[in-house]
Amino acid sequence: MSDYDLIVIGGGPAGQKAAVQGAKAGARVLLIERAKTAGGACVRYGTIPSKTLRETALSLGKFRKLTAHVMDVEMPSHLQLSSLMERKEEVVAAHERYMQAQLERNGIELRQGVARFTSPSSVEIALLDGSHQSYSSRFFVIAAGSSPRTPDNVPVDHEHILDSDSLLSLSYLPESLVVLGAGVIACEYASIFAALGVKVTIVDKGARPLAFMDQELVEYFLKELRGAGGEFLGDRSLESVAFDGLSSVETRLAGGQILRSEKLFCALGRVAPVAGLGLDAAGVKVTARGLVEVDKNLRTSVAHIYAAGDVIGPPALASTSMEQGRRAACHALGLDLGRQGELAPIGIYTIPELGSVGMTEPQVRERYGDVLVGRAKFEEVARGQISAAENGLLKLVVHAETGVVLGAHAAGESATELVHLGQMAVISGLTYETFIDTVFNFPTFAEAYRVAAFDLLKQQRARASAKPAAAE
């Protein structure tokens, strides 16, 4: 008989949800986590700390706007980052307490250590004191997370040249920051530091940041970044990065351009820590990109071993990782998977934030040959004016003939919350007219759905009236 029904390796969003789901189904669950408490990089280095700092940065800027600069908040030129991060410690501690309580409430055993497979049915845990323990289980979920990728030509020293694990360890705000990469992590931190008064320069090989997002929305992010003194350098090839031994980091780009900054933040992707997991001993296959290979049910090449979260690759968002963890545990234990995972939204916490759910305009056009897009600028919404958040846009993507909502995409304040309304519409197969016929609270950002719906109505009527004329 196995020691456990389910052993989960890694206590981040995916692992935690897998463990909780398993325990709720009555399984004996062991959660193995390298750190003292569950949470993973999400709580320690990623989602929670960065969003907490973001709120602080946003509040400073917003206070000025909301008081019409009558009460100005002056940012000290050498503001210490650690003072801005004081709230982070409280938020992280509160989140850790919550997760610890959740694990205890569900009877999940938490063991601090580093796990590696010794066979397809057993793992060995290396403990902090150097001793080892071995356990067997009927099922496993690998949710070991990821760590920042460090290219050979970027000598990350966590002092002058930092990655996402060390960026928030800075105790003072640098005067300038070069950000390598233009993905989610790169753009989120670029936004935050720019809002705090740091001269930010994003450098990327791609022509545009956040290439997977609706570029009309991305323009809102770029506008805000430029407004804060930042810039985006696209189509650039990196040659080398080096600290000059004195006070600045030199970034050399192909073509001879040299950027100098007080600090550099390398955000060129993340890698899964597959090397230390003993996957060979378990027989688990790894992809050419170094990710754990899984099928649509999150099952690895070994039937009773599952994987979820960053370790299986994109989108590597906390929200999707949680769902993957839950689904992995459900499938392992023979539970109904439900429909939750079929339509996961994307939330990017840049300034302004970007939210997206469902199909994009090009995707709908490609599949159905035609598309209608209703737009609502936040400046047209009373709440946008009141909240000094006019820099925003909601796009409602619908089927051109039926008007069925297929996607919702937003940039601006509360965009990541706002798209949930669109998500419900997509899941329920609603048409955009629903938003015209429905009364919302006023003033709210949700009003943008009505504005976008009226825009769609206008477009459909224009098309309808244009058709007979064309026929003549």
Binding site: H78, Q80, D129, H158, E159, S166, G245
Partner: protein, 288 residues
């Protein structure tokens, strides 16, 4: 009675001498001189406009007395405005190397050099240890993704009370014509260095993390806000002792250090840190 006859010898530092030391510390009447070699090097390097700017920065990073003095000066409102400068790196970046050069030169001329006849070996070892602890501290910080600059400063200055006490005690004893055994002077220095160093750091306006690391690197009981700085400093202190004087800190003891578990330093991570010992020993040794 002849002058020499008034010299008394005691096996421990008399309470009156310790009281005098405490009074001088409280009054700010103690010095943190430079090593003679360092003072000369600073004078040479900083006085030459043609010197590579990096040489100045490197010099500051490798001497606890120079580092403390420079940090003290640049932390004053004259230089830092309303926000404290918390590291040498930040000071160089903010003020520019020319300003740091001028400050260093002024310090070298102003603060004087140690006059510690009979304690030359100890004072050299103290400075060597502080550099070793600083280098270990920054490596620990790198491994645990904590602030490397803060860790370096805390490591470099954690024992700053020792040379100050040593200098002051030798001076007071000479003034009062008392002779105390060197081992008693060293023991008193060890006993008092955390409190005295902390008091000085506070008076000098050094960053709070540095002050807490000085005060608590043996007791490991700091306020929450600086607990990890203190843990890193305490572990770096132990690793430097292990590296420079292995007999004082056996490896088995080091592997049970109370800061390891809270810092989540697993044995293989400690192995990697200890593997840097030889290069750190050589780098710190080159300074003496």
């Amino acid at each position: 009675m002849a002058e020499a006859a008034r010299v008394m010898e005691t096996a421990t530092v008399p309470k009156a001498i310790l009281d005098e030391l405490a009074w001088r510390v409280a009054q700010g009447k103690v010095d943190l001189p430079l090593l003679p070699g360092v003072a000369m090097e600073v004078t040479n390097v900083a006085a030459q406009e043609s010197t590579d700017s990096r040489a100045i920065a490197e010099l500051l990073r490798k001497d606890q007395a120079m580092a403390a003095h420079v940090l003290r000066v640049v932390s004053s409102p004259v230089y830092s405005g309303r926000t404290q400068i918390v590291s040498l790196q930040q000071a160089v970046a903010r003020l520019g190397v020319q300003k740091i050069r001028e400050i260093s030169l002024a310090i070298a001329f102003r603060v004087g050099v140690f006059k510690l006849k009979g304690f030359e070996k100890e004072i050299t070892a103290l400075f060597q240890h502080s550099v070793g602890a600083a280098m270990f501290a920054q490596e620990i910080a790198r491994s645990t993704r904590r602030n490397v600059e803060d860790a370096f400063m805390c490591g470099l200055l954690h024992d700053v009370g020792r040379p100050v006490i040593l200098q002051a005690l030798v001076q007071i004893l000479a003034e009062q014509k008392l002779h105390v055994s060197p081992s008693a002077v060293i023991a008193a220095t060890s006993e008092l260095h955390a409190d005295v160093g902390g008091t000085l750091a506070e008076a000098w306006g050094l960053p709070e993390a540095v002050e807490m690391s000085i005060r608590h690197h043996h007791s490991l009981t700091p306020p929450d806000a600086h607990v990890n700085s203190v843990r890193i400093t305490a572990l770096a202190d132990a690793m430097a002792h292990f590296t420079f004087e292995p007999e004082s800190t056996p490896e088995a003891e080091l592997r049970k250090h109370p800061a390891l578990a809270p810092l989540e330093l697993y044995p293989e991570m400690l192995d990697k840190l200890l593997a840097k010992g030889e290069s750190i020993r050589q780098a710190a040794g080159a300074l003496s």
